[in-house]
């Protein structure tokens, strides 16, 4: 189930990786079939990280989908699957689906969209059967997919197309799920966590049900529904502590097998097919396509009789019997071994399962487990992760056992062990290593017993014995745990998969027998010990500090793994003594080298994730090390010789050099002398401490961030991109905190204004004293001086608050790249199935602006880009015909212009034809042809932003509904921004959007009307005028003025807002010309108060709607001024005027009153 506490982190992380993945996918596609390893690796990494995190948090669908994507990617990477457009599309679709799921998680904390359809398609491709068919299917499915994203709906529409192919898919699913359910049913009797198993079954049934629905098999679907409800009943019973009768599971399965014998037949067919070719590629593919198949494959290679537990019984033959025997709890012979799981659960007082039984069972399992491992070759990375995990957990447990003797709180330690085992069990489960998982389950129970007895004051020794016994068993089965450590880690860190594979195999063989380790010179041993240094002191320190922290678990396991290594190296030496001496040696050494031990906390994290911190460390170490490091890596890559002394030596060399930041030449000679090896891990271990030394002052939390960042940095580095490492350059902060800070700064700005006002008042007071009270200048001198000082202080305050404001604003600023990088994908989608070719050029990505603004610009830009591609840029043919380059160009550019950001979107398409717009506008009845005649071309262009306007002859998939530009305009107006359109027919169109840097603080013009003060956003102000009454003329009842040959309507603010003014009959008046983007109007005000920077405060929504106010601001004196929402206001005024005209016309008819026009002119109130 989803761990909601981790969810926010997961969402953020997943989104980042998805973004990265999208970029990589698009690049991949651009390469047009040329497979680029580097890009593949990047995609793979993203998918893998998402998968890992999803599993960790318990998000099943994402985990499964990304896992399958990963499999597909792996095949591509290995060259076993060519990168056809179908595959790329599928990858992109998969990525989209994950994005959708993540969005759903963000909204509702649950996954809603189905993934089955994609899983089926991926499987088809991975299987590689009938590729043409797959392609066809893909083509068919695609449009449907786009229409209805939640797979379920799509399925229904496909009902009619009931054909062979669909049926095959359905059967395929049946074949997969039924055996799985079978296995789960068996596991049910053994598993400790029955609920978990039931949930898994329920999921599986759910997918079966959807496929049944999809095929229109109502009865079957009903059958599944019943089954599901039975399961949920059982789960309920379980959670209330009762033991439900689980026999129904089998009944349901039997029923299905009776109706669909193919489910099992097909299964055994496949098994037969696969077996003769075991180990070949085909086998691998079968396995990857269905892990269950693989799982059931195993027993045939094994000695069946020896198998202790049913999970590995051959299914096709006599699973029924096995099932029966388990359900009836008839524990005979072999089954006793693993069944304690259930027995113990039922009766907690049950005796410990006898150790010999376990041992023997494990021994017998040994070869089996090995095969499991080998069979997983196709997913080596996964296996290596599993091994790594296994190893950490085992070492952790070993460490705990050692502690147990001395520790006071034994229970705590044991519980820690128990957790570790539980972790192990879940990873085994994931890998489908059923026997191991069952083994872990039993182990945990045994330990639980011990803990229970511990409470009674005994059992400590037993507990440690139990632990040791189990650990030994595991080590026997997985000897790699001890020796594989470095290759495994290298493998994970190294993305050069094939290289590592090569490396890994010889390693496994050589190291398993351990001949070379013994031959190690003292020097290499020392180097190795040195590497332990990083883990050793830290872990002991940190461990004491906070024992229960999960980090420490990991950390401690490092320590113990180091110990383990030592043991394997030195063979006979007792580990404790050895470690002691190592520590001593190390201490000496570090003193020699004047290394002070870094503080435990940064080191803790360092030791924790050595490979991840590596690049971060390199970055921190600054210049000299970085290039060197890269160089080495380059050299190292092609080499795949077995791991040997040379590598260790190199590590040591490096370690000595690092603190001195030695000069390059020396390093080169040295590293050339030693045989370089693809083995970054020891290097890291060495590099890290020095780096940390330099950054000792890092606070704890930042260290955590560092880990994150350095991971990213590493990604970039390994990808061979020589970007400047951006380690620790960013921290995540709750947006609310910044908003709060912003508010406070806003207050400061207000009080600064207040200060300025005070100074002004003081000046006038001074003047007054000078004139009225007839004080002399010398008498006023102290006052004068005080006023001066006050103004100085005010200026200082102003300076500081300005900078503070700027600083806080910058916190919210993000490079517009964040926005721009969303659009390559859009272009790709728009041109994907058309005969257009468009190149997107972005400029000025580094321009920064408020995150809020970025977010609200996202949609408008999508509309504009859509328009440009859909209407603007011509098809390749057409372009050639008119002599343009075949590829159209779309330029996205951002730059600063005083307090604003200007975004320009220009294309070299056919441009907008004003005549056509004129025609269309008249056709659609938006304007009369008379009006059209009078409009300038520029005004005409603005018509495209009118709601409902579209030049498109017919509505296409992407555009033509006449909503787009209207939305653009609305959004930009909301930001207090402006949009201008210019176009040259045949040459292209340019949209110029001017938006303020931030939405919180704006430059504004303060005006007074009556006693009210209003604020007009400066972005909308074109100019201010002073006019005389006689300059106003009336056209059709509307007041207008003529400026520079333009007739412009004017509105009186006082009239719009019904404000009483004393001097109505004034001759001169102020007019503020404002622009709504499409229209310029004049607003008559009483006084212009000046320009000010104001902080926008929200107004209650019921005050904002249809009032013409966008917000309010607090003035220097604490008063409030309402901020005018100009477009809204103009609309209001126009409506008002229309109403009045109508009314006037009515009253004119009715009463035939004369002079009404004049009356309205001078005394507007009479009409009202």
């Amino acid at each position: 189930m989803i761990d909601t506490s981790m969810l926010p982190d997961f969402i953020i992380e997943a989104q980042e990786h998805l973004e990265e993945m999208e970029g990589s996918l698009l690049r991949l596609e651009q390469q047009k079939g040329q497979e680029s390893r580097e890009i593949m690796d990047e995609i793979f990494r993203s998918a893998h990280t998402i998968k890992g995190a999803a599993q960790f948090v318990g998000i099943d669908r994402i985990a499964e989908l990304s896992h399958k994507l990963e499999n597909l990617l792996d095949l591509i990477r290995k060259g076993e699957q060519s990168l056809t457009p179908v595959v790329t599309d599928l990858l992109i679709e998969g990525k989209d689906r994950i994005t959708k799921l993540v969005e759903e998680l963000e909204r509702n904390q649950s996954e809603e969209s189905e993934v089955e359809d994609l899983l089926i398609r991926i499987r088809q491709i991975v299987e590689g059967d009938a590729p043409e068919e797959t392609e066809e299917h893909d083509e068919d499915a695609q449009p449907e997919m786009e229409e209805v994203k939640p797979g379920l709906l799509a399925e229904e529409s496909m009902n009619e197309e009931h054909d062979e192919e669909l049926y095959n898919i359905f059967l395929q699913q049946l074949k997969e799920n039924i055996p799985f359910l079978y296995a789960q049913t068996v596991e049910l009797s053994l598993s400790v966590d029955k609920q978990d198993v039931l949930y898994r079954c329920s999921d599986s049934i759910k997918s079966l049900k959807s496929s049944a629905n999809y095929m229109g098999y109502e009865k079957l679907a009903k059958h599944y529904s019943d089954w599901q409800s039975e399961i949920s009943k059982a789960i309920e019973q379980l959670s209330s502590g009762k033991m439900p009768n689980l026999a129904f599971m089998q009944d349901y399965i039997d029923e299905i097998i009776r109706s669909f014998p193919q489910a099992m037949e097909g299964y055994s067919d496949k098994e037969d097919d696969a077996r003769p070719e075991a180990g070949t590629l085909l086998q691998e593919e079968t396995v990857s396509e269905s892990d269950f198949d693989h799982f059931f494959d195993q027993p045939d290679d094994e000695d069946e009789d020896e198998e202790p537990a049913a999970p590995v019984e051959p299914l096709a033959t006599d699973l029924d019997a096995a099932l029966q025997s388990i359900f009836s709890e008839d524990e005979e012979g072999e089954e006793v071994d693993l069944s304690p799981a259930s027995t113990v659960e039922e009766e907690l007082v049950a005796p410990l399962p006898s150790p010999p039984a376990f041992r023997s069972s494990q021994e017998r399992k040994l070869p089996h487990l090995e095969v499991e491992m080998d069979g997983e070759e196709h997913d080596q990375e996964l296996a290596s992760i599993f091994l790594k995990k296994l190893q950490t957990d085992i070492h952790f447990i070993e460490g705990q056992v050692n502690q147990l003797a001395t520790a006071t709180d034994k229970k705590e330690i044991l519980q820690g062990c128990q957790d570790a085992i539980a972790r192990l069990a879940s990873s085994a489960n994931y890998m489908e290593y059923q026997s191991l998982s069952a083994f872990c389950g039993a182990w945990r129970l045994a330990l639980q017993e011990d803990i229970a007895r511990l409470d009674l004051g005994e059992g400590a020794a037993d507990a440690s014995k139990t632990l040791q016994r189990f650990t030994q068993e595991i080590l026997k089965v997985y000897p790699q745990v001890i020796t594989h450590q470095e290759p495994e880690e290298a493998q994970v860190a190294e993305t050069e998969k094939l290289d590592t594979k090569k490396l890994d195999e010889p390693l496994a063989t050589t190291l398993l027998s351990l001949p070379e380790t013994e031959e190690k010179t003292s020097e290499t041993a020392a180097a190795e010990e040195q590497s332990e240094l990083t883990a050793e002191p830290t872990s002991s320190l940190a461990d004491e500090a906070k024992e229960e922290k999960a980090d420490d678990h990991e950390l401690f396991s490092r320590l113990s793994s180091a110990l383990e290594q030592n043991m394997s190296q030195t063979g006979t030496a007792s580990p404790d003594d050895h470690v002691d001496s190592v520590i001593e040696q190390i201490m000496d050494k570090s003193e020699e080298q004047k290394l002070t031990l870094p503080s435990p906390i940064p080191l803790a994290s360092v030791a924790d994730e050595e490979e991840e911190v590596m690049s971060g460390a390199a970055a921190l170490l600054s210049v000299p090390l970085l290039p060197h490091h890269k160089e080495e890596e380059k050299k190292a890559k092609p080499l795949a010789t077995p791991l040997g002394l040379a590598d260790k030596k190199q590590a040591k060399t490096k370690e000595q050099q690092a603190p001195k930041a030695a000069d390059k030449e020396e390093q080169q000679t040295e590293s050339a002398a030693s045989t370089p090896i693809t083995e970054p891990k020891p290097k890291k271990a060495e590099v890290v401490p020095e780096a940390v030394l330099k950054k000792l002052e890092l606070p704890v939390q930042e260290t955590l961030d560092k880990e994150e960042d350095s991971e990213e940095a590493e990604d970039k580095q390994t990808a061979g991109v020589s970007r400047k490492p951006t380690a620790r350059s960013s921290i995540r902060v709750d947006a609310d905190k910044i908003d709060y800070l912003m508010n406070q700064v806003g207050e400061l700005v207000v009080s600064r204004a207040y200060f300025a006002q005070l100074v002004n008042e003081m000046r006038s007071l001074q003047q007054q004293l000078l004139e009225d009270s007839r004080l002399t200048k010398s008498e006023l001198k102290p006052l004068h001086e005080f006023a001066f000082r006050l103004s100085e202080a005010g200026i200082h305050l102003g300076r500081v608050s300005n900078e503070l404001q700027e600083g806080v604003m910058k916190i919210r600023m993000l490079p517009i790249e964040q926005l721009f990088k969303r659009y390559p994908r859009l272009i790709r989608d728009l041109t994907h199935r058309t005969d257009k070719d468009v190149r997107l050029i972005t400029q000025g990505e580094e321009t920064e602006l408020d995150k809020m603004v970025i977010e609200s610009m996202s949609d408008p830009l999508i509309h504009i880009i859509r328009n440009a591609v859909d209407h603007g840029i011509e098809t390749t043919e057409e372009r050639k015909r008119v002599g343009k380059p075949a590829q159209g160009t779309l330029i996205l550019e951002a730059y600063h212009e005083s307090d604003h950001i200007v975004l320009e979107i220009s294309d070299d398409g056919k441009g907008i034809d004003p005549q056509r717009i004129r025609m269309k506008a008249v056709e659609k009845g938006l304007f009369t042809s008379d009006e059209m005649e009078r409009m300038s071309d520029l005004e005409v262009l603005r018509i495209i932003m009118e709601p409902g306007f579209s030049t498109a002859e017919k509505t296409t998939e992407t555009s033509g509904r006449g909503v787009g530009m209207d939305v653009v305009k609305k959004n930009i107006e909301r930001l207090n921004g402006m949009i201008e359109i210019s176009s040259k027919p045949g040459q292209g169109t340019k949209m110029r959007i001017k938006i303020p840097l931030t939405m919180a603080i704006i430059q504004a013009l303060m005006v007074r009307v009556g006693r009210e003060k209003f604020t007009i956003p400066l972005t909308t102000v074109e100019e201010t005028l002073r006019i005389f009454r006689h300059e106003i003329s009336v056209i059709e009842g509307v007041d207008v003025i003529h400026i520079r040959d333009i007739t412009m309507p004017i509105f009186r603010l006082a009239k719009i807002y019904n404000i009483d003014r004393p001097q109505e009959g004034e001759d001169k008046m102020f007019v503020v010309i404002v622009s709504t983007g499409t229209q310029e109007v004049g607003l008559v005000v009483d006084e212009l108060l000046g320009q000010e920077e104001v902080v926008i405060k929200p107004l209650a929504d019921y005050l904002r709607t249809e009032s013409g106010f966008g917000g309010a601001t607090i003035l220097g004196d604490g008063g409030i001024s309402l901020i005018l929402d100009i477009p809204e206001l103009v609309k209001l005024a126009a409506d008002d005027q229309a109403d009045r005209q109508e009314e006037r016309a009515k009253s004119y008819q009715r009463k035939r009153r004369k002079r009404i026009v004049n009356a309205e002119q001078t005394q507007p109130q009479t009409i009202h």
Partner: protein, 170 residues
């Protein structure tokens, strides 16, 4: 569900015992009460900036330590009878109504009253003091007088406000 049932029972018991604290205030002769938990603060009249084109019961907005808060003339909002003389020293009750901080002008604030919740009765069918029934949460006898508990969520219902504003705008 069993837990829901038990929760109800606990709530029942608590209600029986629980005292509710109300801030009492008056408009004209009527006594009103509001749950003390909703009251953010009570201020004496502050400079109110009127908002043109807003419904008439909206007196305007005030600056409350940097936040702009709408102020509603409760008398007009409730449609209570006009007062002959406008009181010079009215109070503004600042209430937090589900996150919407709003000021309400009242004639006077009396005191904090403790009332056993069970004594609160549903509003009577008859209209009280010319007050529309829907704004009343309940009534409570406090000896000499009836105390009317107002439903401020209702009073601040946006649709209604918007409707009113469009009516008054015409």
């Amino acid at each position: 569900m069993p837990e829901g049932f038990s929760a109800d029972r606990i709530a029942d018991r608590e209600e029986k015992e629980q005292l509710m604290q109300l801030v009492g205030f008056t408009i004209g002769k009527e006594q009103f009460g509001v749950d003390i938990l909703m009251v953010q603060e009570i201020i004496r009249s502050a400079p109110i900036t009127s908002v043109p084109n807003s419904p008439d019961f909206i007196e305007g907005v005030i600056n409350l330590r940097g936040n702009i808060i709408p102020v509603i003339e409760l008398r007009k909002r409730l449609g209570l009878y006009r007062k002959e003389t406008v009181p010079k020293d009215s109070w503004i009750l600042i209430l937090d109504i589900e996150g919407r901080v709003t000021g309400f002008i009242v004639d006077s604030v009396t005191k904090v009253l403790k009332i056993v919740e069970s004594t609160i009765e549903p509003p009577p069918e008859v209209v009280m003091a010319g007050l529309a029934n829907r704004y009343i949460k309940g009534v409570c006898d406090i000896g000499s007088n009836l105390l009317i508990l107002l439903d401020f969520n209702r009073i601040l219902m946006t649709d209604e406000l918007r409707q009113l504003s469009s009516i008054s705008g015409e």
